[in-house]
């Protein structure tokens, strides 16, 4: 996979504040790339630099393997921070301006308005829109002309739960169409559902990047239960392939060494006269892995 976006030692200073410190990573083509980090970690600053609204203090970046230009940005649908439109114009008129700037056909405006469920309100002024509608209009603007790359900074801001689910489905659908999506968010549960790759920033420093599995190293365990929990604990603690056991209410969390599968564990218990009433393979959430990584000394 070739890189759609390559960052090389990007730094940004705001006076004495170092917002980004030599951040380097690559966004592979066709990936859904999550840029994660707590508030103030530099996510939006980074996206501001690659969309040319902020000037980097150091380093450089490439779009499509080339020096960035306006023509590249026309091939990228970007939503940065807030929806930025002319308040006195209708949704359709605003998208007309976007279409002319991006050299995209005006005929595509109705399609994106319908896709984001704004068609009925297409002639209403932007200032009459709710926060969620404004956000959806900004996403509609990004999708004009069906660009191969999308950059979304907190795309679910202001949306209600059903709106969040719709945007998540849309991102998955766009990804299945082969688009590269760069997504900055602090909603880790949402990111977990859609991202294939992540970069994690903390106080302007890149602490991990790569595929979700490799970058986050999410922990796996087996959750088990039986009528006699004490007997089960005693049996499991004698097994070589068990790293540690942690009680968790009516369950035991069994952290296996390499090679212990659910089938093996079930058979072992059965052969030792214990019938498991519950057996499930579990993985730490992105949130847990993220908190582990970003806590002091975590990385």
């Amino acid at each position: 996979m070739s890189a759609i976006l390559s960052l090389d030692k990007i730094s940004k200073h705001f006076g004495s504040v170092k917002a980004l410190r030599e951040v380097s990573f690559e966004v592979p083509e066709g990936s859904v790339f999550g840029i994660l980090g707590p508030n103030g970690s530099g996510k939006t600053t980074l996206l501001g630099i690659v969309t040319d609204v902020l000037r980097a203090s150091g380093g450089h970046f490439l779009w499509f393997g080339q020096k960035p230009s306006g023509d590249h940005r026309k091939q990228i649908g970007s939503l940065l921070e807030t929806p930025n439109f002319y308040h006195y114009l209708s949704a359709r008129r605003n998208l007309e301006i976007t279409a002319v700037i991006k050299d995209k056909p005006k005929g595509d405006i109705d399609r994106v308005l319908k896709l984001l469920k704004l068609y009925e309100r297409r002639d209403s002024k932007f200032q009459t829109y709710s926060l969620g509608m404004k956000q959806r209009l900004a996403i509609a603007g990004c999708l004009l002309g069906n660009p191969p790359v999308l950059v979304f900074d907190e795309p679910t801001n202001g949306l209600d739960p059903s709106g969040i689910a719709e945007i998540r489905e849309l991102i998955i659908e766009l990804s299945q169409q082969g688009k590269t999506i760069i997504l900055a968010s602090h909603l880790l549960a949402e990111v977990e559902k859609v991202c294939t790759h992540v970069a994690i920033l903390q106080q302007g420093v890149l602490i991990r990047s790569g595929s979700v599995a490799s970058a986050l190293n999410q922990e796996e365990w087996l959750e088990v239960s039986a009528t006699d929990l004490q007997a089960l604990h005693s049996l499991l603690s004698r097994l070589d392939k068990v790293e540690k056991i942690l009680p968790a209410g009516e369950f035991l969390r069994v952290f296996p060494k390499e090679g212990l599968t659910t089938v093996m564990l079930n058979r072992l218990c059965f052969e030792n006269g214990i019938i498991l009433s519950h057996l499930r393979l579990k993985k730490s959430s992105l949130e847990t892995a993220f908190i582990e990584l970003t806590k002091p000394g975590g990385n």
Binding site: T51, Y86, I97, T98
Partner: protein, 270 residues
């Protein structure tokens, strides 16, 4: 390149086509320039004492005097197109569309160049209006000499430089301040403060450098036209000797504003 230019013009047209405030300000500007001149005309013609059946100020609205009278009067209303410039430019900052236009694919140069061109176009438009107002008043009043020559019409060009200078100052303030109300406040405050400095500096401290301050230098291109017959030939020749310098410095200021506005927008964070 040509299509890029027309594409840029189209975007700017789409921004103002349905913007009521723009059209109101444009109509107010277009209506006030001739209307204000008519008020002055009416005052000089009917309200002042007459001598030998003629106003004591002569015939300031007849050819050829009208070529300096109308530009001078209109110069007092430069704040009207300046309000338009400030409103349009600060809108981009208020709505953060200056960022969005760049994010969507415009270069920073393209964005700022079209704004500079808009200021130029507005200056040309208002200058044409002032020239037409001159012609109308000239024909409406007792005409001494219909055929204009450079010595008369140059005041239209001086008005163009004066207005361009003021509008570039308005654009510069809007770029630095980014808020409509505050930008207008600073624009008016600067006009007042500079006039204050000029009057004090010239009358009390006899300093010549005040004549070359950013607004005063282009104001001096069109001297007060009323009662010109009362001016001594020494006073007239003093102005004639300096007008090329005023013009050069005025144009230099405009070029400096353009240079700084371009540099600032292209180099700083948006």
């Amino acid at each position: 390149m040509r299509s890029e230019f027309f594409n840029t013009l189209k975007v700017e047209w789409l921004k103002v086509r349905n913007y009521r405030t723009f059209w109101i300000l444009l109509v107010v500007t277009a209506a006030c320039m001739p209307a204000f001149n008519y008020v002055i005309y009416d005052f000089t013609d009917n309200s002042l004492p007459k001598f030998n059946g003629q106003s004591i100020l002569g015939n300031p609205f007849s050819f050829p005097a009208v070529w300096r009278t109308v530009p001078y009067n209109s110069g007092l209303l430069v704040f009207l197109p300046a309000i338009l410039v400030i409103t349009l430019f600060t809108n981009e900052f208020s709505f953060r569309t200056h960022r969005q236009n760049i994010i969507d694919g415009w270069s920073r140069s393209r964005f700022i160049h079209i704004k500079l061109l808009e200021v130029l176009a507005l200056t040309i438009g208002v200058t044409i209006l002032v020239a037409l107002t001159c012609v109308c008043f000239g024909f409406l009043t007792k005409t001494l000499s219909v055929r204009p020559h450079w010595n008369d019409v140059r005041f239209i060009f001086y008005f163009f430089v004066e207005l361009l200078n003021y509008l570039m100052i308005a654009l510069l303030i809007a770029l630095l301040v980014r808020r409509a109300g505050l930008s207008m406040g600073i624009f008016f405050l600067y006009m007042i403060i500079e006039q204050f400095v000029v009057v004090i500096g010239r009358n009390k401290y006899k300093k010549d450098w005040v004549d070359y301050l950013p607004e005063e230098v282009t104001d001096r291109l069109i001297p007060q036209p009323f009662g010109r017959q009362m001016m001594t030939s020494a006073q007239i020749s003093l102005w004639e000797n300096h007008v090329a310098l005023y013009l050069s410095i005025g144009i230099l200021y405009v070029l400096l504003y353009i240079f700084f506005i371009r540099w600032k927008f292209r180099k700083t964070d948006l």
